[in-house]
Amino acid sequence: MRELTYVDALNEALHEEMQHDKKVIVLGEDVELAYVFGVTKGLKDKFGGDRVRDTPISELGFVGAAVGAAMAGYRPIVEIMFMDFIMLAMDPLVNQAAKLRYMLGGQLSIPLVVRTPGGGGVQYGPTHSQVLEAWFMQVPGLKVACPSDPADAKGLLKAAIRDENPVFFCEHKMLYKRKGPVPDGEHIVPFGVAAVKREGTDITLIGVGYQVQNCLQAAELLAAEGISAEVVDPRTVAPLDTATLAESVRKTNRCVVVEEGHLRSGVGAEISAAIQEEAFDYLDAPIGRVAALNAPVPFEPALEDYVLPNAGNVVEAAKKALGVIA
């Protein structure tokens, strides 16, 4: 299979969907030149300045405008340059986009995609490094995707653009330049379907977004010690495919959930609760949770590494769940 970077896979999805449906438009800061991360490159040249527009630095204004365009029948894709900036547009996303269909008794729908890179590892400091999927997965009316590799990035973005509901699409800066196989032809990954990214028998590692890569790396390290870890990627956290997660745990009887956000009220808390509800009798140990330490993401590389989860933390949590270490 051909290999693409995560950025190129996203870019291909945008090109295909803009070609597929002329109601798809792209708005955001510096999207015309794809100046910052390059996800929107080539779109303006191909589809023109009407459909691909730079916006002023006014997240509240242009996310709200995207909601309005969706109300009037368009399918806007908004880029938020860094996930942290979405807080300037919480009202249009959470109070309006997520609730409008409901609040208006089903009179309209909001087919909106807000795509945005989150995550640390690049020394941008506390206000350019967050992952916020735990916040948005709480909101009825929103869907939340967290692709962990190029194939899912493409397939989930295409599904998001075709979805009639608002989608918060979490990309990750550490994944952008990673390469991976991407199927040729039409490739759509449905929401709410988890994927087993590596099969194993001794323990289930559930990762969210970029942390799936840490889980895969941890599984390699564990394999070297004779431990067979299964890595499962929910791919979307709203909707959340708890059935596939629980099925894996029923096989391995042990589980660690890994996310880059903070532990308290995090995605891991939700997943752990769901697994104990669905597979309590199969658990041989408490579910382990790995997450960022309880601090903003600091700038200095050693401090940043310390606060964010890594493969070593996952290995350690897995060994605790297996009773190998205390």
């Binding site: 527009r53 709200g64 405008a65 109300m71 009037a72 089903g106 009179q107």
Partner: protein, 322 residues
Amino acid sequence: MAKKPKPLSKKRLHEMYRDMLRIRRFEEKADELFMAGLVKGAVHVSIGQEACSVGVCSILNKDDAILTTHRGHGHSIAKGTRLNEMMAELLGRSTGLCRAKGGSMHIADVSMGHYGAHSIVGANMPMAAGIGLAYQLEKKKQVAVVFFGDGASNQGSFHESMNLCAIWKLPVVFFCENNSYAVSFGADRSTSVEDISTRAQGYNAPGVTVDGMDVVAVQEATLEAVDRARKGGGPSLIEAKTYRFFGHSRGDPHFGPYRTEAEVNKWRKRDPLILTENLLEMTKAEKNAHLENVDAEIEEATRFAENSPMATLESALEDVYA
């Protein structure tokens, strides 16, 4: 220059009067039902501001958009929102426009170009810009009008939306009903300018202040702004100086700690209904005929609502996702 508006025919002005009366009587009924405990939650009546609703909407086509606020009954009715289903929404019935999920503060009738009452102050302006963007992309001559109050003109959303509409020349009319109060906080203390219309200058857009109690003045200003928008001239800001005769919400006293009875009475002398009656030199018989006609419609809407079933509990979980 926009074309000079044609002088209003007497017949047309009677129709506009009738629409203002429909708003007045609907809201008096809504207030009565609220005070009787039959309408729950909050009701923000716009009594006193009817000339704004009708003056603006009299210029719009069915396929033009409006977006309104928590104080949006008047705009809704003037845009042609179905009264039966609107009253049913206030009373929480299954036949309500929003299936009892929105209530008074979220009335919408998309089939009539009414894209919703948005009760987060200022939230509707970015959405209006987006609807304007859709119209521009469609190359249709539709316009979006967004209603908001003096309080909302201090929100970032107002400034961000004005800028966005100005740089993209979007067909959007910003209609500010300056009724002098954001709940209890006077515009003289909350707002940096006396005439909010002057804020348009910051966005290289035309801004005009009109008498919001004079339906003809509102209509003329709107005609010019709508005409400009349809021709690709971009956004305009109209500020209408108006007044709400009632309290802010929920049967609040009409005057009290933040405004005097004398002030309310001064504005009541300029009631838009009375001004229009004077303009039309309306006879008592004509007035009574209008009132009878309108009251029959409001009674019918109330009867429809009261005879409709309450919303089912199952419906509370419907329409979360498409």
